[in-house]
């Protein structure tokens, strides 16, 4: 056979084994669920036979054997009650099984996310990981766990139905077995026809959605240019094409059910005919015929079920392997228990090299000595490694060679919490968690009083807009409820509240106007008095007052010194300064 297929089967089996190991304590529930499913299937298939037996006691006027009939009806009653109770238990078990498994996987996943190195998280899109934790997990639990139950009960149904039918009459059984596949062929034939239309429908729908997103999404521009009529005409063209394809797709696909039902009806008629011929010869009773008819009606169902379950199972296994890929990813290296205390703020970077992509060296042989209280500005063209340096200082990434020390302690030997706690960090990419303004500000200091919060907000100039929000500090924030500038102010307030020992500002005021920036800068200056700070910025005012400017290019510090010294030296910095900043003064 195809070796590829074999290896993918092998992989599926491994994943399946992992899932079974993962569900651990629920394994018992799974077995119980399958067992119950099989029991109820047998019971529910046996009920029509008993009904047939009961009907056989009703022959004609004055020929009804009430005694026997009541005996059969009694057995039916017992069986039905029992099977209902078991089905109910099984449903409850399935609920527990799936929901608890989902809960377990998600709670494992969120813990794993906290431990994963940033290289992993940066390398996967947010949407990708979210869909693993949410959608894939749901599909896994529904498809895999319930799939098992359905698969087993489907197989049992087919076997038991065949046995029961055989016990009644071999010829009718053969007729059903021979004719059933036709129904499959018909379904297959139709779905292959409708596939093409569905494909066209989805391409056209995609085009339409793109146009909708463009036009409705930018309605203000459409409005400003009076483009409405043209937009409407363009929409109409696509809409008409979509109508064509949709009508066909919907029509063709809705033929499947009637067609298979037609095949079923023919089988039904065949069973009736054959049965009617056989009864007079005593090869079948009338009750038996009614059993056969009801089986003939149901016989297709388990086949359809199984074929859809198998697709679902494959799908679920694919999802499971996505989830395990996340859960089994290598977490961050083990953490040290050492704490940083009484931070003076001396930072030594010794011969550090680092790259995200092994084939492209980014930071090479980087050396830097920062004495306590110094303000370091880092400048350089895009992609020169400014932000990478911050990733290394915060240990979002670990250096590949060389070392970084704080107060003569290698940061690899300090616990990450303690290291990160010593820095206050504001990034260009602002992050607001959904919650109140207060919760957002207090992230670094959950027990802050309102006075402290308001004081921090005042210093970071966020108080003005916070006051203007409907509920002040208690206003609920969502991902896009504030402007970029306001979000940056809020992130600065967070840091202002914590009073960290050292500060990292990565383009922290890029979305704030210059006037406010100057005011915030003054607040930072006061805050950072005697505290070491690292500032990545593209604005003049922040750079010029730094104690040391690092000019980075291609991962190396090519020049360093104060503004005046660097301008005087007339190197790369001067060029950069002239091209980027100097024109302001023109």
């Amino acid at each position: 056979m195809n070796p590829n297929k074999n290896s993918s089967n092998q992989k599926s089996l491994t994943t399946l084994w992992k899932v079974l190991r993962f569900i651990g304590r629920y394994r018992f529930l799974l077995i119980l669920s399958i067992l119950f499913a099989c029991i109820t299937v047998v019971m529910q298939l046996y009920v029509p036979i008993l009904f047939g037996d009961a009907i056989d006691q009703i022959i004609a006027e004055h020929q009804v054997h009430f005694h026997k009939m009541i005996y059969f009806l009694g057995r039916i009653t017992t069986l039905v009650i029992l099977s209902s109770i078991i089905t109910w238990f099984m449903n409850m078990i399935n609920n527990q099984l799936t929901y608890r498994t989902v809960q377990d996987i998600r709670s494992k996943a969120i813990r794993q996310i906290q431990r994963l190195p940033l290289s992993y998280l940066d390398g996967h899109s947010t949407g990708d990981i979210v869909s693993r934790v949410i959608a894939d997990t749901d599909i896994l639990s529904d498809g895999l766990l319930l799939g098992f139950t359905q698969l087993f009960s489907g197989i049992v149904t087919i076997i038991v139905t065949l046995l029961f039918m055989l016990s009644k009459n071999i010829w009718i059984t053969l007729l059903v077995i021979v004719l059933t596949p036709f129904s499959f062929f018909v379904a297959k034939f139709i779905s292959s026809r409708s596939y093409e239309m569905f494909h066209k429908q989805s391409t056209t729908r995609g085009k339409q959605t793109a146009l909708i997103e463009e036009m409705i999404g930018n309605q203000k521009i459409v409005h400003a240019f009076g483009y409405e009529t043209t937009a409407s005409t363009r929409f109409d063209e696509i809409n008409q094409a979509l109508k064509e394809y949709s009508q066909k797709a919907v029509f063709y696909s809705s033929l499947t059910n009637p067609s298979t039902r037609f095949v079923n009806n023919i089988i039904y008629a065949g069973v009736a005919l054959l049965g009617a011929f056989l009864v007079p010869y005593g090869m079948l009773t009338v009750g038996g015929l009614s059993v056969m008819l009801s089986y003939a009606n149901q016989y297709m169902k388990p086949f359809n079920d199984i074929s859809s379950v198998i697709t679902e199972l494959q799908n679920a296994l694919a999802c499971a392997s996505h989830i395990f890929e996340l859960l089994e990813a290598e977490p961050e290296s083990a953490d040290s228990a050492n704490e940083l205390t009484d931070i003076k703020g001396e930072v030594t970077i010794d011969n550090v090299s680092f790259s995200y992509d092994p084939s492209k060296k980014l930071i090479r042989d980087f050396n830097l000595n920062v004495t306590p209280g110094m303000r370091i500005a880092i400048v350089g063209p895009t992609g020169c490694g400014k932000t990478t340096l911050i990733n290394l200082l915060m240990r979002f990434y670990d250096v590949q060679s060389g070392s970084i020390s704080i107060d003569e302690q290698n940061i690899q030997e300090i616990s990450r919490h303690s290291l990160r706690h010593s820095f206050g960090m504001v990034l260009q990419d602002t992050w607001i968690k959904s919650g109140t303004v207060r919760e957002n500000i207090c992230i670094g200091k959950p027990d802050a009083t309102d006075e402290e919060i308001l004081e921090a907000a005042k210093r970071s100039h966020s108080l003005g807009f916070i006051r203007r929000l409907t509920d002040g500090l208690d206003t609920m924030l969502h991902e896009d409820s504030l402007s970029q500038g306001q979000r940056q102010l809020l992130c600065i307030t967070r840091v202002m509240l914590c009073l960290p020992s050292m500060l990292i500002l990565d383009e922290a005021t890029s979305s704030i106007d210059t006037r406010t920036e100057v005011q915030i800068q003054e607040a930072f200056d006061r805050l950072m008095q005697g505290r070491t700070s690292f500032i990545v910025a593209h604005r003049l005012s922040t750079i010029r007052s730094a104690d040391l400017i690092l000019v980075m290019k291609d991962g190396k510090v090519i020049e360093q010194g104060t503004h005046d010294a660097l301008m005087h030296a007339g190197g790369f910095y001067k060029d950069l300064y002239n091209s980027q900043f100097a024109k302001v003064t023109e």
Binding site: R100, Q219, F251, N265, M425, W431, S541, S579
Partner: protein, 583 residues
């Protein structure tokens, strides 16, 4: 809802024929057990092979007619539902185009996009299913009961009893669980949101050592979801076993009763089989009906949401024709005590702003983030109407201009530079569909975009990707400026639309604009003092108030906020100023 029904009116025939043929199919389905009963009671009892064969052929014939009916029904249902959805989509699209910015802001474009895509599709599915199946299931249930009555009245009474009980059980379970499912969805959204947050905020979470509290938040949301899921599950777990129990108990009674009837000679054995078959059909259809109702319920909710968009009407009205009166003042734009508050906002974004601008002037607008600069220019273009006070264009209230006239007079370059999928030429033609290539190049020259276009393969024929993704921010900005220039507006508004340009290009652009737009009144919104320094009039905004109007020199002398802004960008000048003062 009624708003939507009118779009079905041109599919009246289809909407009638689809359920009609579905009903025909059902009739044939319902006759089958009767034929089988005759096979047993006549054919088998008399061992009449010819009769049995005849009945067999009748069964085949009915299957074939049933198939034909069903195909016809599906055809009309597909036509009606898809046709309906097509009309609704077009009408909705056109309707959204008429909404004013206030409504667009309140609803949000994402919501509108969902309404016109997903929601309309859901309605289409619901209508299609409804046309085909909504009548089918109740008809089978009632039909089976009628058939039972035709066979034997006393046995049929069991149907009369069983059907309402089943109905109540199935529907009460559904009714209880549907709103709970909505709640489950809400909880799931919360868990999803938290997961996303943990990923997007990973650096901040780690920087502030918030890992544990994040996990705690997630755990409690996760647990709440599981608990709710289990609770809903416990209710819906009842559905299957309960209906199974009920229908079989009813059948037991039915057989018992039938036994008595047969014994009395009122009923035959084959008819018992028929009654048994009808009972079996009922439960299948009731369950189908219940799940159909869930689907329909969902589509109804979608239909309601779609209808609610139709119910929104624009809060702005335009006269058909611009009022013809004095057009000859030399004041291009005037604000008289204008205040503006965004819908649902806590405080005003502009308060009591008054100024006037002469035709052909260049006006600079400067101020901090959130000071109301964009709001002010949005009022000039009448994207919003002032909450108090009035805005005048050429001495005439802006509300007296027709929509087209106003649109023709004003060229806007918005803050967010958006381009559309299509060639560069297509995009520039937004300004004026009849513009010649020479005019386009002329506009590109002024917008400092000639080199951008010339560097692209195919020049004006270069294909821009959706949202202009294949261009840089600066390139996009220059093209959006050119797009507005192609229009030759009498009023040009540049809303911070040169922010991604370097200072040299910015300066060249301003110079070119100045020469190109003689007679055009230009509004320049900017964060950069350098960009507006040369303007004839500068408006300084602070927290929604106009705190300074005048030229650069006036303001530098008198307006403290302007000084702060200016010196934050030109620190050397401050020193110079001080030195001069000292001298």
């Amino acid at each position: 809802m009624r708003k939507l029904v009118i779009y079905l009116s041109s599919y009246k025939k289809e909407s009638f024929l689809a359920p009609f043929f579905k009903l025909l199919e059902v009739v044939f389905d319902l006759i089958v057990p009767l034929v089988v009963a005759r096979i047993i009671d006549v054919g088998i009892v008399n061992n009449d092979r010819i009769y049995i064969l005849q009945q067999f052929l009748i069964l085949l014939l009915m299957a074939a007619i049933g198939l034909a009916c069903s195909f016809t029904a599906q055809f009309y249902a597909a036509r009606a539902s898809v046709g309906f959805a097509t009309k609704v989509r077009q009408a909705l699209f056109d309707h959204i185009q008429t909404l004013s910015f206030t409504e667009l802001d309140t609803l949000g474009t994402d919501t509108l996009i969902t309404r016109i895509t997903d929601d309309v599709n859901q309605v289409q599915n619901g209508l299609n299913l409804g046309l085909r199946l909504l009548l089918r299931s109740p008809f089978i249930v009632i039909g089976a009961m009628v058939m039972a009555f035709m066979i034997n009245v006393r046995c049929a009474l069991i149907f009369v009893l069983a059907i309402p009980i089943l109905f109540v059980v199935v529907f009460s379970i559904m009714l209880v669980s549907i709103p709970l499912f909505k709640k489950v969805q809400g909880h799931l959204d919360h868990v999803t949101g938290l997961t996303r947050e943990n990923l997007t905020g990973v650096r901040v979470i780690r920087a502030f050592s918030q890992e544990e509290s994040s996990v705690r938040d997630f755990d409690s949301a996760n647990l709440a979801l599981t608990k709710l899921n289990e609770f809903v599950g416990r209710i819906s777990a009842l559905l299957n076993p309960l209906t199974y129990l009920l229908i079989n108990m009813a059948t037991v009674f039915l057989i018992y009763k039938a036994g008595i009837e047969v014994n009395l000679g009122n009923l035959k054995q084959g008819q018992v089989v028929a009654l048994y078959n009808y009972m079996a059909q009922i439960i299948v259809e009731l369950i189908k009906l219940a799940s159909l109702i869930i689907t329909l319920n969902k589509s109804m909710a979608c239909a309601d949401r779609v209808a609610s968009v139709f119910n929104l009407s624009s809060s702005m009205t335009y006269p058909e024709e611009t009022k013809a009166d004095n057009d000859n003042t030399d004041t291009a734009v005037a604000f008289e005590h204008v205040s503006f508050t965004y819908e649902g906002a806590g405080a005003a974004s502009l308060s009591d702003v008054s100024f006037s601008v002469k035709r052909g002037q260049t006006v600079g607008i400067i101020g901090s983030t959130g000071s109301g600069k964009s709001t002010l220019v949005n009022l000039i273009a009448r994207f919003y109407d002032a909450t108090a006070g009035s805005v005048f264009l050429n001495g005439k209230n802006i509300k007296d201009y027709s929509r087209n006239d106003l649109c023709d007079r004003i060229g806007v370059v918005p803050q967010k530079s958006v381009l559309f999928k299509g060639t560069i030429r297509d995009n520039l033609h937004w300004g004026n569909p009849d513009a010649t290539d020479a005019e386009l190049w002329n506009a590109l020259d002024v917008a400092q975009a000639r080199d951008v276009v010339e560097a692209k393969e195919g020049c004006l024929n270069f294909d821009i990707a959706q949202n202009g993704r294949n261009l840089s921010g600066g390139q996009r900005q220059r093209l959006t400026i050119a797009r507005a220039l192609v229009k030759h507006p009498e009023l040009l508004i540049l809303d911070d639309s040169a922010s991604a340009l370097d200072f040299a290009t910015d300066a060249a652009l301003r110079k070119a604009l100045h020469n190109y737009c003689k007679g055009t009144t230009t509004f320049l919104v900017s964060q950069r003092a350098a960009s507006i320094r040369q303007a004839n009039l500068i408006l300084v905004l602070d927290d929604g108030s106009l705190v300074g109007t005048g030229t650069h020199d006036d303001l530098l002398e008198h307006c403290s906020i302007y000084q702060e802004i200016y010196y934050s960008q030109f620190p050397e000048e401050r020193n110079k100023g001080r030195k001069e003062a000292n001298v």
